[in-house]
Amino acid sequence: MRKIKFFFFGLLCASALLAQETFPVNGVADKRDGTYAFTNATIIKDAQTTITNATLIIRDGKIITIGTTGIVIPKGAVVIDCKDKFIYPSFIDIYSDYGITQPQRNAAGFNFNAAVQINSNAKGAYGWNQSIHPEVDAVKQFSIDPTKAKGLREIGFGSVLTHVKDGIARGTGTFVTLGETKENLVVLKDRASAHYSFNKGTSTQAYPTSAMGSIALLRQTYIDALWYKNKPTKEGLNISLQSWNDNQTLPQIFETEDKWNEIRADRIGDEFSVQYIIKGGGNEYQRIKEIAATKASFIVGLNYPQAMDVEDPNDARAISLSDMKHWELAPTNLAALEKANIQFCITAADLKDNKTFYSNLRKAIDFGLSETKALEALTKTPAVLLGVYDKVGSIENGKVANFLISSGPIFAEKTTILQNWVAGEKFAVKEDQWVDIKGNYTLSINTENGIVNYILDVKNASTVNVIKKDTLASKFSYDGKQIKLNFSPVTSKKISDTSSNAKNLPQGKPVGFKREAPSVNYRLSGMSNGTSWTGTGEDTAGNKITWIATLDSAYNTASDSAKKKTNTNQRLAKVTYPFDGYGWEENPMQETILIKNATIWTNEKEGVLENVDLLLKDGKIAKMGKNLSESGARTIDATGKHVTAGIIDEHSHIAASSINEGAQSVTSEVRIGDNLNPEDVNIYRQLSGGVTSSHILHGSANTIGGQTQLIKLRWGANDEGLKFQGSDPFIKFALGENVKRTTATQGNNRFPDTRMGVAEILNDAFARARDYEKASKLDPKTRRDLELDALVEILNKKRFITCHSYVQSEITSAMRVGDKYGFTFNTFTHILEGYKVADKMKIHGSNVSTFSDWYYYKVEVTDAIAYNAAIMHQVGLNVCINSDDAEMARRLNQEAGKVVRYGGVSEIEALKMVTLNPAIALHVSDKVGSIKVGKDADIVIWSNNPLSIYAKSEKTIVDGIVYWDREKDLEQRKKIQAERFRLTQKMIGEKKGGTAVRPAEPSWQEILSCGDHAHKDGIYTVDVQEVENLNQ
């Protein structure tokens, strides 16, 4: 039976509307043209155009007529009266994975402990990297998913762009309707888009392991694809590059999950003249200026963070103010995008539960999103972005008959979607509400004793009050057509807990009555015929009855337009720069500052000067001398204080989203500067320790690591704003235990495994670079290689090396490779055995940057001595003391103090090791590192001798801007407390108000490190290296 029924259904579907020519028909042909006329409707043709009392005619799945007057309804049309109904173009989601089985995620990454998968596992004539698979066409994998289609139709969607959400180059998306006829017919555009992300997804190949690696991989692939256009014979067939090129004409969609990644993606696009449509993470409002500057269109979700359970203050403590603020402000995101004139569409793809679609959208409207924009973002904008506005996105002649019929304005709280038509096919959503049954009815029951009347006060499809003097308890249901009503016409004594007993009552027993209560009971069943209902029934005695109910008065259904609840007056968290507790509401300004009566450590031949004034103006050191005055200057009395140049940390890993691209031994193509993170609170913390510039290094996972980035600690700036402009580019190299993967206790399969191999990696890399340079000069068609480009720069002294190194053998070997190829190792960092080869490094021309007193945490530092810096200094090397540690960087002045203690270096020379010497090593001593007129106003005012443990930075100034002020910091702490308190109370209020909350989730702080030595992180910190290990 069941089987036959199903067959029938299938037959109907296939034959009804859009039968395919090629498919044989089993039975008698049943072609219909599906002509429907929708009359008396309010039709919203698009976000700008609404026509009332209008008619819409569709045929063969297309719109053929729309208008208000003079419409001739074809005789063969089925007429549907849409009085009081609203017709909208159905919605379009261009970030869906509908109908695609998503590949399961095999977590993968670079594991410091285990063997790595160096090559791609993909079989076939594809490209080298498993996460680049532009050859994947979603259309080939797509199949109709009726359950998901229904869910989407119910919230108003009629068509979606779907794709395989996996990998960095994900292939093409396909644009389909949410119809259920046949895949062949629902696909509106087979290859509609090309998709990208930074996330390698299910790729098990090691490369890339980092955000910057993903960026480099994308850049290189653009270059390779261009080169492949000339069909280089050596490459053979490369389906991936071929597909990549084929996909370029399509709309390019880039998925990210965070504002900074959005900006990073856009930069890649700029480099290769591609304007991505960016799928955003929903925190664009936090950097709206930068987001607007991308000029990209955005796809944004509605998945706001759920409130957390913060009643336990110990749990609440672990949540950062930043996360709490985002919880409050996330619903303002769309309004912020609109206000900034950023084009965007809305996706439902991120929602865990489709039911939250409207409530969340209404929240966005409450916070200032206009309804027009909201509608546009769901209809025209996605259609235009995808180039399918000729088909969908508005109600116009010739377009696909994709529209929805609602009971009122679509965003209004009480509106329901009644039907959703997809390509001319009706899908019921809430048809029971097509006719609003609310109202008062007269129920006439024809009993043996004659007609008995009752009043039915119908509230909705499941609630009715049956009134006969008193209100009688009843059970009611209405499913759009069928009506069921049980009630007892005699009032009986209610039992106390009706609700819990109700379920246990036998069928037909009126709810809320005692089982034993003697009563007549009516069981009525019938059908709605519009404003009147008719049916049959039975009473308790088994007497058959008939009944009729007629509508007396409908409820006043004055349409409630989307309520304009003004949330604008509500107190909301402020967007700060960065979006941290310690961020600025207003970025601090450059000032003219006159520091009076200071003890100034000039780092110049003047040495330490007592009772001297210093004038900072226009971001520079303007004057130094006695009794200076400057009108309009902010004067700071520095009597008894010490003033030094800002500290420069030669070796740091803060302020970046990733540090190690460890998958290969040579990764000179990756750039720390591609993934700066201006929101790292350690920037602020280090300002408090007098640091003004930091050299952000790639980690030490491989011999030739990535390109480094020198930054100034301009707390509040964006990623570009952090960069130390005009500084020479550097690159990180590493030698020894880490790069030969000593800690790979589960086995290493990556060359090199010994220091012999490390030296050969260097030798080989530069041999390749030299050949490449020659080849490129001879043949401009030579494939551009980002990895070798960076090495060629080294050969040409346009890029400089800072090299992680420990033992004398490897240091010497590295220098000999440099000698062979004619370049210098600009800086040896760590260099704990530097004292053994100080003379050799002096001849080679290296700078050195070391720790003051680290030792004995691994075999290669068993000969580390605290006198290292002193010896190297005395041999005549330019010696720096660096941190390589987010905590210690706050105390680098004290680390310099240790050089006085171990080896007796003078205080003046010791201070230079954290100021002038790193400036020299980094080639920026013309701008920073000492107190000299004309240099940048990067200055610290200390409470005490700067080399003393008792010294605190009272003010840290970068470019004449006071970024750290100990007194202001105390105020900021109070502000943080107050704001945390307010938001905690608000979250508790939500919980008490009945909103579902999730358990408090600590805001984990990611601590990035070299990968070199033990880090004891705090309770709420995550060692990223450890996480990467876990991911394997």
Binding site: R105, A107, F198, N199, A211, N261, N314, A318, S320, S322, D580, S657, R685, T743, Y835, A838, D839, F851, D853, W854, Y855, Y856, Y857, K858, V859, T862, D863, I865, A866, I871, V875, D885, A886, E887, M888, R891, Q894, G897, K898, R901, G903, N945, S948, I949, Y950, I976, P999, P1002, Q1005, I1007, H1013, A1014, K1016, G1018, I1019, Y1020, T1021, V1022, V1027, N1031
Partner: protein, 437 residues
């Protein structure tokens, strides 16, 4: 240069510029009279005596003051004029002698045993009195340490050692002084961060998991208590037996805990078992200083030079936590657990605490007398007071401030120990190479 007047005994004649740690011998027992004169003596209990003399007989301090006469014959006199004299510094929780090179050399590590309840495991049995770390620590003024095992829930017993010994039996200063317990964490990071995506969470309640674990630990101690009330057993249980000293208050229970909830649960071990409890770690102790005080729980702050635990915490929170405990009257010690510098910077940890709210003498107590009190060795050391062992260091300047903290002399139980170590030896070697004076 410090002016030293001492009789050249055979003991001191050994000193020469030998080139390996192996030649830095332990010193022979201190006999007879020894004076340290004219120094600024920081007693360790808050008192500072200027121009003071310390009189030592057979390794014990017998007199400290300003008017002490010095006999002319057969005495050793160390003139500390212009110098700062301190009690020997103490590492209150460490893996010295158990962990040689943690990274990459498994064979050199003996600090982490397999198993969850290892109350019977004793750190002292694996203590390597020739660890390369020890001589470096001595040169930084650190003369004693508590050595404890790690790993599992109950990690085993710790002993206090002094740093001038031929072997562990020689080194032991207080045997099996305490038992260590790793309090289960109440903060769990579920799931993982795949690629650059968001963390996955589960609905499991970490508090419940932790409390269940705590209950299991209490069950262990309840059974241990019962076991130890009976003298004869059919089945000997070494794990239970090993906890006897806790119930007799001869041992302390060191609970390693950083989170508020962990520390609040730790109070149970005082209330239910009447143990002497010490918190080790104590990152969030500043939030419950008054509670710790009223429960009479001491704290060993593991790492002064730490980042704030949360993004919003005061940026100098770890620096000023000692001042909070001091104000509340909590007995606390400052430790150094940095693996990168191998604990040599404990005095600078105290220095930072002094910068952020402690007085210098309070900060000193936190690495001397308070540590001795917490470890239960204050009857013998921790301060320069009559009756105690002469564990004393002489520094050129303020020991809390790196630039002046050069340790020039050190005595353990009156024995003048040598301060050379591999680092000073290599320093000499390369000064020679480069002709540096």
């Amino acid at each position: 240069m410090i002016k030293i007047i001492y009789t050249l005994t055979a003991l001191f004649a050994i000193i020469s510029f030998t080139k390996a740690q192996e030649s830095v011998y332990p010193t022979q027992e201190s006999k007879g009279l020894l004076f340290i004169t004219n120094g600024t003596v920081h007693v360790g209990n808050g008192t500072v005596i200027e121009n003071a003399t310390i009189k030592i007989i057979d390794g014990k301090i017998v007199e400290v003051g300003t008017n002490i006469s010095i006999p002319t014959n057969d005495v050793q006199v160390f003139n500390a004029k212009g110098k700062q004299v301190y009690p020997g510094l103490i590492l209150s929780s460490s893996d010295v002698g158990l962990k040689e090179i943690s990274n990459g050399v498994r064979a050199s590590n003996d600090y982490q045993e397999i198993g969850e309840y290892n109350s019977d495991v004793r750190s002292i049995t694996a203590y390597n009195s020739d660890s390369r770390v020890i001589n470096v620590l001595r040169s930084n003024g650190i003369l004693l340490a508590s050595v404890n095992p790690e790993g599992g829930i109950i990690t085993g017993s710790s002993s206090v050692v002094q740093f001038d010994a031929w072997n562990w039996e020689d080194a032991v200063y207080k045997m099996d002084a305490g038992i260590h317990l790793n309090m289960p964490t109440f903060v769990v990071r579920f799931g993982r961060r795949g690629g650059f995506g968001a963390a996955v969470t589960t609905t499991t309640d970490p508090t419940k998991i932790a409390l269940d674990k705590v209950e299991e630990i209490k069950k262990f101690f309840r059974e241990a208590k019962a076991y130890n009330q009976e003298n004869s057993h059919t089945n000997t249980n070494l794990k239970l037996e090993a906890t006897k000293g806790l119930f007799e208050k001869k041992q302390k229970l060191y609970i390693h805990a950083d989170q508020v909830k962990q520390m609040l649960v730790a109070i149970d071990f005082v209330k239910e078992f009447n143990f002497n409890v010490v918190i080790v770690g104590g990152s969030e102790s500043f939030q419950i200083a008054d509670i710790l005080k009223s429960a009479n729980i001491a704290v060993i702050l593991s790492e002064e030079h730490a980042l704030p635990a949360t993004e919003d915490d005061d940026i100098d929170q770890p620096y000023k936590t000692p001042a909070v405990l001091q104000k509340a009257g909590v007995l606390f010690a400052l430790n150094d657990n940095s693996d990168n510098t191998r604990y040599r910077n404990v005095s600078y940890n105290a220095g930072t605490a002094a910068t952020y709210g402690l007085t210098k003498e309070e900060a000193l107590s936190a690495i001397t007398l308070n540590a001795a009190k917490i470890l239960g060795v204050d009857d013998k050391t921790g301060s320069i007071e009559v009756g105690k062992d002469a564990n004393i260091i002489i520094s050129a300047g303020d020991i809390l401030d790196m630039k002046s903290s050069s340790v020039e002399q050190a005595f353990i139980q009156g024995r003048k120990i040598r301060l050379e170590n591999k680092q000073t030896q290599l320093y000499e070697r390369y000064k020679y190479k480069y002709g540096i004076k």
